[in-house]
């Protein structure tokens, strides 16, 4: 347990992805089975102990500690699990401290009525750090900045295999993953995925470089719109239905409306969107209402129904279709989708074109605001896992840009700590003769290291006020730094003073040359807003 606790403590404070990967691979290499497997399960959310409730901990600790001293401590620390772990009376870290596998076993065996006793005994045997890990594990939500994707990447580097292989196996495996680790250490065969409705690694595309296009023969590629939702895989086999994200996370639980409609045998690749495909397609911010939710209210289901706009067919019944060329899969897909409920599934239409120039015009003037570009798919290509170069390209619509004024700068983290690298920028609003700046977004990349140094110096030389790690920078009609901000889209937002939120903003150019009063006005941005869901017209 103590080794797992130390891993969590390091992970939460290690900002860099590579640092986290190294901590994880070292953990896998140095901790024996079954502990490392339970550690992996804890990190990827694969453990659930319904008998343990956070409120129980409070009761337990107040039986052992003066409530006044507990209150002072909780007030100071600010986190219940951490306060309990630190204030719990007892020897710090005994020699007979339970191993992670033992903790998992005791927690999973316990009934609700025995849970307080079991939990108390566990905490008695652990160090403060071990107690913290045990509490977080028991109540769910480690929050150490490790996604399932990162954990799988760490497994792949640990075993020197492709991450797609891990993703493909993942849903057939269960803690403590002994067979998986044996395979990764060359001590056993590759585990067979015996689970129904497994995840099939997704095929991804490269961005097309426009210079490449003249060398490519247009007639050998088909084109489709690229929709702005999230890429999903819907698969159903012998009554088992699953919805996976493109990295193989099972997201079925958040979409009961869609799961109910998955009355088919096969595997579809498509874009998850909000709306009714026959009438309206919602924006990405509509879709966000449905993402990352544990429970979905009835109102949510009614106001933001989801559907899949289908791109590809990976299996039809028992038949694996991935080796077939794109054109054949597309024909099968068309007849497959025809049989599905039309309020939950439709076909992503193809885009006809004869020349790149013709396609470029269509790309720049898409027929629907929720289209973010076109996809090019080689007609004779099979469905391949990963991101092979050549068969698929994405050709995105150019980003929107706006000229904004730098208003605040905040110190960055990791490599950029001590540099002012997170920038809040604003545009003009109010009367033309006496306008004021209103913040419209925040960007922290898109510039070179050299530009970072220049902006950092500019911020230090032009600071008006300081608030902790944030500095406000002089910005008025005659003085300030104009930055050209690129972004993917806009949505209305009640949380921002300006009433709008930018999607994926980044700095595209520093306009040292441009006077601040020539920066854009809020009205310019408001005119770019897509019509909201309620008022949306047909697709």
């Amino acid at each position: 347990m103590e080794r797992f606790a130390e891993l969590l403590d390091r992970l939460v404070l290690t900002p860099s992805r590579n640092g986290k990967l190294r901590l994880l691979t070292d953990y896998f290499a140095s901790v024996p089975d079954p502990d490392r497997g339970f550690g992996l399960a804890g990190l990827t959310g694969g453990l659930d102990f319904p008998a343990i409730k956070p409120a129980m901990l409070r009761t337990l600790v107040e039986e052992r500690v003066d409530p006044v001293l507990f209150a002072y401590s909780y007030d100071y620390v600010g986190d219940l699990a951490e306060t309990v772990s630190l204030i719990w009376p007892g020897e710090a870290g005994r020699a007979d401290a339970p191993a992670l596998s033992e903790v998992v076993e005791r927690l999973s065996r316990t009934s609700r009525s025995e849970a307080p006793t079991v939990m108390a005994r566990l905490l008695d045997g652990l160090s403060p750090s071990g107690r913290f890990a045990a509490i977080k594990l028991a109540t769910g939500g480690l929050r150490v900045g490790v996604s399932a994707r990162l954990a799988k990447q760490a497994l792949a580097s640990f075993g020197d295999v492709e991450v797609q292989e891990i993703e493909e196996l993942w849903h057939g495996l269960s803690p403590p993953f002994t067979a998986l680790f044996a395979w990764l250490e060359d001590k056993g065969p590759k585990p067979e995925n015996a689970a129904k409705a497994p995840f099939r690694p997704v095929m991804l595309s490269h961005a097309v470089a426009e210079a490449d296009l003249p060398a490519i023969e247009p007639a050998t590629y088909a084109a489709e719109w690229k929709w702005d939702g999230i890429r999903v895989q819907a698969t159903a086999e012998d009554g088992v239905r699953r919805l996976y994200s493109r990295t193989g996370d099972d997201i079925s639980g958040a979409f009961p409306d869609l799961m109910e409609a998955m009355d088919f045998e096969g595997t579809l690749d498509g874009e998850l969107l909000v709306g009714d495909p026959r009438e309206r397609t919602g924006t990405f911010s509509d879709l966000q209402q449905r993402l990352n939710r544990k429970t979905v209210s009835r109102a949510m289901l009614a106001n933001y129904p989801v559907f899949i706009r289908c791109y590809d067919l990976l299996a039809s019944g028992a038949r694996d279709t991935r080796a077939l060329p794109y054109t054949e899969r597309r024909e099968l897909l068309e007849s497959f989708v025809r049989e599905l409920p039309p309020d939950r599934f439709d076909l992503s239409p193809t885009v006809s074109f004869r020349s790149w120039q013709e396609l470029d015009e269509k790309r720049c003037n898409p027929p629907h605001p929720v289209i973010e570009g076109v996809m090019l798919k080689k007609k004779d290509s099979p469905y391949l896992p990963g991101r092979p170069k050549g068969p698929w390209f994405k050709w995105k619509r150019d980003p929107f840009t706006v000229d904004a004024v730098l208003m605040y700068a905040q110190r960055g983290h990791g490599k950029r700590s001590s540099f002012y690298s997170d920038y809040t920028f604003g545009v003009w609003t109010g009367p033309a003769e006496d306008p004021t700046l209103v913040p419209v977004g925040k960007a922290y990349f898109g510039f070179t290291d050299e530009e970072l140094r220049q902006i950092d110096k500019y911020v230090r030389d032009n600071t008006v006020e300081r608030f902790g790690p944030v500095r406000s920078v002089r910005a008025d009609r005659s003085h300030g730094l104009v930055i050209e901000v690129a972004f993917e889209g806009l949505a209305r937002s009640s949380r921002h003073k300006s009433g709008i939120a930018m999607r994926f903003p980044r700095i595209s150019r520093l306009r040292w040359d441009k006077p601040t009063h020539e920066a854009d006005r809020l009205e310019t941005l408001e005119a770019m807003l897509p019509t909201a869901m309620a008022a949306a017209s047909g697709k």
């Binding site: 640092g19 001293l69 986190d79 630190l86 204030i87 710090a92 870290g93 001590s418």
Partner: protein, 337 residues
């Protein structure tokens, strides 16, 4: 028996002994000052005369220059001085080199002002001695039951493990220039780390002084030098004042990893706020267990609690049947470590 309040009382300048005519750790210039240890919030320049241990006087001289006080007098540990009928004795406090508690006694009443102290082992200074007294004046920097400092050797072992795991990263350990820095270095040497340890310029004089005082620190070198061939190699340990670890100063080194040796590192959020990747819970102040054990050891019937989280320790005394009150003294950094 004289009432404790008549023996020692707080004034804006600091803790005052009317009978003896002196202040203990005054925060403003006074005629006669008794100084417990060399940290800047306790040892200030400009007093008429200063009575302190030889090490504390030396440290004040290093920090403030020769003329830091009108006159100085060296206090020998365990030796009692008579000051206008008040008996004054310095005893080791285990906080930093030269640190002392000050016992003040008259008319059958003894008060011990502990200054800052700790009970855990420290290879760089003499260990704390509990002194029986009627009133014990204790610090309260870490006076919450959530503060329990682990064994410092274990924390240093974590630093060395991280160095093995990330051998290409320069580990920059934030540590207060007086006491903590030298303790961390000495602990590394005890853990058989024999490589050169690089130090920030602000630490140089004090490290040299510790060496001269007989605390062996092993090979040390300045972290920032003109010639690039003497710069710390990737994977070196650098000890620097806490403010330097997240400053641009640290960016010059190879992929720096920020570490911080402090009792505050017990709280995750504290580490996170400062961008610390490797918190080391090493403190020169007593933790909750040490504070409460020390109060018992002194057998004091009354406890005065100063700088820190007074209310929690006062509460503990109440529960345990001891008279206690916060002693409000201005000017000390209760966050300092």
């Amino acid at each position: 028996m004289i009432r404790p309040h008549d023996l020692l009382r707080s004034r804006p300048e600091g803790l005052f002994c009317p009978g003896g005519g002196f202040y203990i750790d005054p925060v403003r210039p006074v005629e006669r000052a008794l100084i417990t240890h060399g940290h800047a919030d306790h040892a200030r320049a400009g007093h008429g005369s200063v009575l302190a241990t030889r090490e504390t006087l030396d440290i004040m001289r290093i920090r403030y220059g020769e003329g830091f006080a009108g006159a100085v007098q060296e206090a020998q540990l365990g030796e009692t001085l008579n000051m206008n009928g008040v008996r004054v004795t310095f005893h080791p406090a285990g906080h930093v080199l030269g640190s002392a508690q000050i016992s003040v006694e008259t008319g059958g009443t003894r008060i011990v002002a502990s200054g800052d102290y700790k009970r855990s082992r420290d290879p760089t200074c003499a260990p704390f001695e509990p002194i029986r007294c009627d009133v014990f004046i204790t610090e309260a920097t870490f006076a919450l039951p959530v503060f329990t400092h682990p064994d410092a050797a274990g924390e240093v072992a974590r630093l060395l493990r991280s160095l093995e795991q990330f051998p290409e990263r320069t580990h920059i350990v934030g540590a207060y220039a007086l006491g903590k820095a030298q303790r961390v270095i000495a602990l590394l040497r005890e853990a058989d780390y024999d490589d050169t340890i690089y130090i920030h310029g602000a630490l140089e004089k004090l490290c040299t002084y510790y060496e001269a005082a007989g605390v062996s620190l092993g090979p040390l070198q300045a972290a920032t030098v003109e010639q690039s061939d003497a710069a710390p190699p990737a994977g070196a340990i650098i000890i620097a004042p806490p403010a330097a670890i997240d400053d641009r100063w640290s960016r010059r080194f190879s992929d720096p990893l920020a570490s911080f040796a402090s009792g505050w590192m017990r709280i995750r959020q504290r580490a996170r706020q400062r961008g610390v990747e490797l918190p080391l819970i090493i403190s020169d102040h007593a933790d909750w267990t040490e504070l409460t054990a020390t109060i018992r050891d002194t057998q004091a019937a009354e406890v005065w609690v100063t700088h820190g989280r007074e209310e929690a320790l006062v509460r503990w005394c109440e529960i345990n049947g001891l008279a206690a009150r916060p002693l409000h003294l201005a000017g000390y950094e209760d966050e300092a470590e």
